[in-house]
Symmetry: C2
Subunit: 244 residues, 2 copies
């Protein structure tokens, strides 16, 4: 499994992913699931991926290829006029890649090569946008009602996102929120693993404001992880006991 989250806040977009890939518990590796491209002054685009690794790597490679020779191909990330068109292109590429991998004579293999993506970015003169792209190639966009997307092993880390997310929060608070959400997931599920990748895209700045790989021994992550356990226990103790 995987855990990736994309948050849309007033100040911009904040993305985080884990890096664990496993096919069975005895074949565990670390792969990048957060990819980013930017054209300074013009656009900044990022993708988070969850699902079959061959599928997601193939999608990323094809996008990279197209970007290297944008003049030869239409619809590269770099010359699509809107984020909506970027989402359409990436969605089509994802659907095609899954279809090509799935043998047409073995319907039971359908589902094996599936994947989902979170697309985030901004093109100069337009708003920052955040999309969730399904294996079928279609997608939904974040809104005031649903200002974040999760893919992969989403349930353990969801309650705190629902409760603490606020569009007006600072980047520093948003990163803290992601760290707590990832910590809850890491503690509950072995198939999500450190290190974590972090990317912050500030509104109207077409270069990453901040990007980092957070390693297992990262002091801030350690502080959050132990601090959150302690804070939860205290919060729990502070509630009144049931009376029988």
């Amino acid at each position: 499994m995987t855990y990736c989250v994309g948050l849309q806040i007033d100040r911009g977009l904040v993305l985080m992913s884990d890096t664990r890939t496993n096919s069975g518990v005895d074949y565990i590796s670390s792969f990048r699931k957060l990819h980013h491209w930017s054209v300074p002054g013009n656009r900044s685009i990022a993708l988070l991926s969850s699902g079959n690794l061959a599928t997601t790597q193939s999608v990323i490679s094809k996008l990279e290829e197209r970007n290297k020779a944008p003049s030869e191909r239409h619809n590269s990330l770099f010359d699509a006029p809107t984020m909506f068109q970027v989402a359409t292109t990436v969605g089509e590429l994802l659907r095609e890649t899954i279809r090509e991998s799935t043998p047409s004579d073995s319907p039971e293999a359908s589902g094996t090569f599936t994947a989902s993506l979170i697309l985030a970015g901004q093109i100069s003169g337009m708003e920052p946008r955040l999309f969730l792209i399904y294996p079928e190639g279609n997608f939904i966009e974040a809104s005031l009602d649903t200002p974040f997307f999760q893919i992969g092993e989403t349930k353990y880390g969801r309650p705190i996102l629902i409760r603490a997310f606020d569009r007006g929060m600072s980047f520093e608070e948003a990163i803290k929120l992601l760290m707590v959400s990832f910590d809850s997931t890491l503690k509950a599920n072995l198939s999500v693993g450190m290190p974590l990748d972090l990317l912050v895209l500030e509104r109207d700045s077409f270069e990453p404001l901040h990007q980092r790989r957070i390693l297992e021994d990262d002091p801030y992550f350690r502080t959050i992880s132990s601090g959150w356990s302690e804070a939860l226990r205290k919060a729990f103790e502070g509630l009144p006991d049931y009376e029988m």
Copy 2:
């Protein structure tokens, strides 16, 4: 879906379940998923069920039938000499019930009638025991390492159980813990719904110490639900922000 939890603490066993059953979002009903039988002075046995409602109701009905005429049938809940034998009997009944419902000529229907159970209880002269029974009829038992079982929609409510559970806790604290775990699940997933059923079995007392149906407007549940949201937000605010 469903959410049921069985906790084993030093003082005894504490069980909670929701009551929502749905087949599609437009056919929602409320059914009891927590069942209890006791023979004063001799034994106290409870079952929590998750899965296909026809299957779980059939298992419960067959157990009730056997208990009404224990002399005619072997292995009723009331004359099995150990909790291990009760678990074996219930497991066999569950497996048979699932097999009888599944048409042998339609392998695609396999899985439709599946269900899982949590069995909790104590027989006089022996320790209280807690089992998780799989659709295949086999089962595992709670231990010092794994002192609680969840079935159904388990992920949202798991992080707080992992962090706050302690075998030495009082019944009052254990019920508070369950309320928090259920609140997180109810907030995140529509297919788990109020009211909740609660049962407390005290060690070496062969009648329920406490049992109650907790309704939507229960003042204690409301206090926990709003108090926990508030406490989580405060705990989150209390952690240091990330520094970019």
